[in-house]
Structures are given as structure tokens and as C-alpha cells.
């Protein structure tokens, strides 16, 4: 679904390890929009930055299955249930390609998953919010996937080839997710008073956390310059956030829902919407583990992993027995 703010801390370049000539050649390739491939030389810091970003993105897909999975059994129609199942299945698939893309950088999926389960690696903070009504499934598709697409479309042109190619497929599926989410909201907004209330309440709860998905404002975003130079990141957090607001506000107007921001105004000169102050304290708290569902989300993943240990052990044991049988035959 999404990676947090694309605002990765880049590791300091170590000139002892990565000699300057190679660094210059590497940067020249990036400047010429060449793709860097798995076996190409790359600065250690570029590799580490990408591993961190891609794996956080993968973790976000996997944890993101939980808030939506929460409504699979309660989806209101068979068609909605089927669409939601397909969406959650896509997310598992995104997690798989992204872990594979990260593995091309020389790290194993097991290691990465272990970092997530032990809380060392982050995932998108948005999934630490609860899904309380069916409208939340609409709001997640519309807003969360909508914000994710803003972040991810530029990633299709990321300098690292395997990540860029994975993102092409991910983006296609995300845009379907966004449309189905908006369609849920549209249907609710044309429904009964209770359904309209549900939709508005979901928008009220998901709007601000969705804006936070783009990460800190540019003035406080310390790690962007290197990622920009490496063309891992192509737009600043605030640029992407603004794009998202500009696209989303008219969509809310169209379905008659009100943005929960009294300061929201359109600037007729620039054509952009000016939005109110984001509560960065809330963002920092959720990142620090104090969101409404941080503990539940991590515990769910830990529980599934621990419960699955005997299954994975059995698969390994069986594969070994089979190999031994074949060798003996």
C-alpha cells in the first residue's frame, strides 16, 4: 500500500569504502536516468537506504492487510466481500514483490520480517488507526490508497530498476483500490442518513492521518536531499501532499462530504487548496508506538508468525526428506 513519507534517513556516504571515481560514475548514470540494477556497483549508503525504504513499504503492505481484513467477514454484500478479498490478496502480493525487490539488494526476507516483528523496522503509521465501521473500508481505499498512489507513481521512475519495475504493477492495482474505495464512499453518501453519517465520520477520522502519510513538512524533512539526488525520491513531501489535497477535496465535494478542516480554502490565484495545521504531535506519537492500534497490529503479526512456526518447520523437514529420498533413489 504505502511507505512512510518516503522520507528516508540516508546513511552517510563513506569515501573510504566507496571511492570517489566510482561514486562520480554512479551519480552520472543516475543523472542520465539510467536504471541501477542488482549486480551493478552502488554506494553502500544507497543500498542501505533502498533496503530500508523497500522493506518498510513491504511491511506496510502486510500490516495494512489487518485493518481491512477486519471487515472481510462483515462486508455488506457478496460483491463487496469479493472486492475486499481481492484487494487484501493484492496487498499480500505487493508485499511479496517488494520483499523480492529488497532481496536483490542482498538481504533476506526472513531478516526483514524479523526486523518488523521485533519492532526494529517501521511500517506506515496509518495502519495503526482502527477500522470502526464499513465506511472505513471506503475511506482507506479512497484516501489511504489515494495518498499511496501519489507517493508511488514517481517511484515507477525510481533509479533502482527492480524497485521501479515492482512499482509499475503495484500502482496499477492501487489505482483500482482507490476507485473501489471512492465508490464505497459514493454509495454511502447517496444512502440513508445513517450511511451518510458513517461516511462523514470515516472521513473525519482518516483525513488528517492520510495527510500525515506524506511525512514531515519540507522545512523539517532532513533526509530528502540525498534521496532526491539519487532519484529514489522525486518530489518533496509537501509537494506530494499538496497534489493529494488538490485532487481529493473536489472528490469530497462531489459526494457531498465535508472535509474536517475549517481552514481549508482554495487559493484562486494558485489553484491550490490551502489546508490547516497538521497535528505533528499526533504523528510523532503514532510513530513512537502510541497510536490506537500499534500494539494490536504488531501482536497480530507476531502471533501469526509464532503460530506458523511449526508449519514452516514441517515444510522444511518435508523438503529435506524429499531431497534425501531423491538422492537415495
Amino acid at each position: 500500500m504505502y511507505t512512510q513519507g518516503l522520507d528516508q534517513k540516508s546513511d552517510a556516504v563513506d569515501p573510504q569504502r566507496d571511492d570517489e571515481v566510482r561514486l562520480r560514475q554512479f551519480q552520472a548514470r543516475i543523472d542520465q536516468e539510467e536504471k541501477i540494477e542488482a549486480k551493478d556497483w552502488m554506494p553502500d549508503a544507497y543500498r542501505k537506504t533502498l533496503i530500508r525504504q523497500i522493506s518498510q513499504h513491504a511491511h506496510s503492505e502486510i500490516v495494512g492487510m489487518l485493518p481491512e481484513g477486519n471487515w472481510i467477514t462483515r462486508a455488506p454484500t457478496l460483491r463487496r466481500k469479493a472486492i475486499l478479498l481481492a484487494k487484501v490478496q493484492d496487498e499480500a502480493g505487493h508485499g511479496l514483490y517488494l520483499y523480492s525487490a529488497a532481496e536483490t539488494l542482498g538481504v533476506s526476507r526472513d531478516e526483514l520480517i524479523d526486523q518488523m516483528l521485533t519492532g526494529k523496522a517501521k511500517y506506515s503509521s496509518i495502519f495503526n488507526y482502527p477500522t470502526l465501521t464499513w465506511a472505513d473500508i471506503g475511506a482507506i481505499g479512497w484516501l489511504v490508497d489515494g495518498a499511496a498512489i501519489m507517493n508511488q507513481i514517481p517511484l515507477c521512475r525510481c533509479s533502482y530498476g527492480p524497485y521501479a519495475r515492482a512499482m509499475v504493477r503495484v500502482c496499477k492495482e492501487e489505482s483500482f483500490h482507490q476507485r473501489q474505495g471512492y465508490e464505497i464512499m459514493l454509495t454511502l453518501s447517496r444512502g440513508s442518513d445513517e450511511q451518510i453519517r458513517m461516511a462523514q465520520d470515516a472521513l473525519n477520522r482518516w483525513w488528517w492521518p492520510s495527510l500525515m502519510m506524506f511525512g514531515p513538512g519540507d522545512a523539517d524533512s532532513k533526509h530528502s536531499a540525498q534521496s532526491m539526488a539519487w532519484k529514489i525520491k522525486r518530489f518533496s513531501n509537501d509537494e506530494l501532499r499538496q497534489k493529494f489535497v488538490d485532487v481529493t477535496v473536489p472528490q469530497a465535494d462531489y459526494i457531498g462530504l465535508k472535509m474536517p478542516d475549517p481552514d481549508l480554502r482554495k487559493n484562486d490565484e494558485t489553484g491550490h487548496y490551502k489546508y490547516g495545521e497538521i497535528d505533528w504531535e499526533e504523528f510523532m506519537q503514532v510513530l513512537a508506538g502510541n497510536g490506537p492500534c500499534n500494539r494490536e497490529r504488531l501482536e497480530s503479526r507476531q502471533h501469526a508468525h509464532a503460530e506458523g512456526q511449526w508449519v514452516r518447520d514441517a515444510a522444511t523437514a518435508y523438503a529435506e526428506k524429499q531431497a534425501a529420498r531423491q538422492a537415495a533413489a
Binding site: A86, I184, L188, Q195, A314, A317
Partner: protein
Amino acid sequence: MTTRNQSSCDESEMELFSYLLRLGDNALILGQQLGASVGKGPELEEEMALANFALDYIGQARLFFGLAAEIEGKGRNEDDLAFLRDGIDFTNVLLVEQPNGDFAQTIARQFFFESFYLLQLRALRHSENSKLAEIAAKAGKEIQYHLRHTQQWLVRLGDGTVESHRRMQAGVDRLWQYTGELFEIDDLDRWAIDAGIGADLAEIRQTWLAEIKSAFVEATLEMPAGEWMAGGGKQGRHSEHLGYLLADLQFLQRAYPGAAW
């Protein structure tokens, strides 16, 4: 097609409607169970498989209910049939409403059911009702793939570690008592067989038993010994599990009657 109202819906149409409901209920309830297991899989590939299988079952339920609703001709649709019937009106077999349990129990349930269901669908491809035959052909392709996956797990777990073997054996032992109902022939099944509409369960039982035995040998599992078989699901007499399952499934449609979603 002649116009008709509720009272003129003739007897064979009522039978066919009921027969399709059974098929739809099995698919819906199993899809619901698998849907509930999303996020709890032992690894990522399995998460995808579970969601994918759930999706197939929900898709099949929609086809069976859609056809049932059309044949009934009372203006009900697939969602009315799924969300607005009570537990005593559901006619799925008891096996599919059994809880997911641990992964071995899930696999045992899936294996018992799917090895039966695939044979049932293959027979239904030759149904006198061409629409049912079409659905069966499509569903059969999906279930063939599920069964291959499920059977691989049965073997891996049975012939894996000491613990996985113990769990897999416990899973099949526990669910064995629900396999008898799969082959029970009641009046409705008799009607379907005689009309050339439905599968002959007695015929497929022999094939099923042979397949189960051979899979168990490969999985190093003992055939469960219990002879007593539970039944009643097909007649609407269910286990306590079904009520909770329906409470989740039907919540929104029950809480907001008549709303469009």
C-alpha cells in the same frame, strides 16, 4: 418463459432452488471461514492462497445464489439469500462450518471437503440443467487447483515433523465425523439424481474413499477409525458455530434493513 407468481412456482423448480441453495451455502460458509483466516497465515504465500481461495468460494456462492434466485422468481437476489436467511434455513454440510482451528485443522477441513466437492462438481458438469453445468465447470477448475494445494499441505504436515504429524492426525481425526454427511442421500438428493440434475453421491463416495486413502498413505497418516457420523446440516440443523458466523456475515444487512451498499 411463462409469467408466474409465488404459488405457481412448480415443484421441480422448488427442488432445484433448494438444491442450488445447498451448493451456494457450502461455498458461502467455507468462503466466510477462509476469509476470517486472512492475516493469520503461517507465511505470506499462504496468506495469499487463503484470500484467493476465499475469493473463489465467494464467487461460486454468488453464481449458485444468482441462479437459485432466478429460478425462484420471487425477486430475491444473491444478497437476500446470503444475508437475510436464518441459521435454520442454511443447508450447508456441517463440515464447512467447523472452525479454522490450527492450520492442520484448516487443512483437514479443506482436504475432506474439496476432495468431495471436486468430484461433485465434475458430476455436475453433466447436469441436465445447463446453467448449473456451466457453473460446475468453472468452479471445478478453481477447486482442482485448491485441492492440489491443500493435498500438498496434508502431505507436508503429515510427513513433516513429529509435531506437524501429530497435529495433522488430530485434525483429520477430529473432522472425520463430518464426512459422512457429504454422501448422505436425502429426498432432495434423490430427486436431483433422478432428474439428472444432481450428482450421485453414492457413486462418488467410492472414488473419494480411494483418493483419501491414497493421500493418507502418502501423508503417513492413519485413516480415522471413528464410525459414527454427524449429520443434519443439509436439513438446517447446525452446530453452534454457524450462529456466530452468520452474526458477522449478516451484521450490516440486518442492522440497516433495505440499505444499498
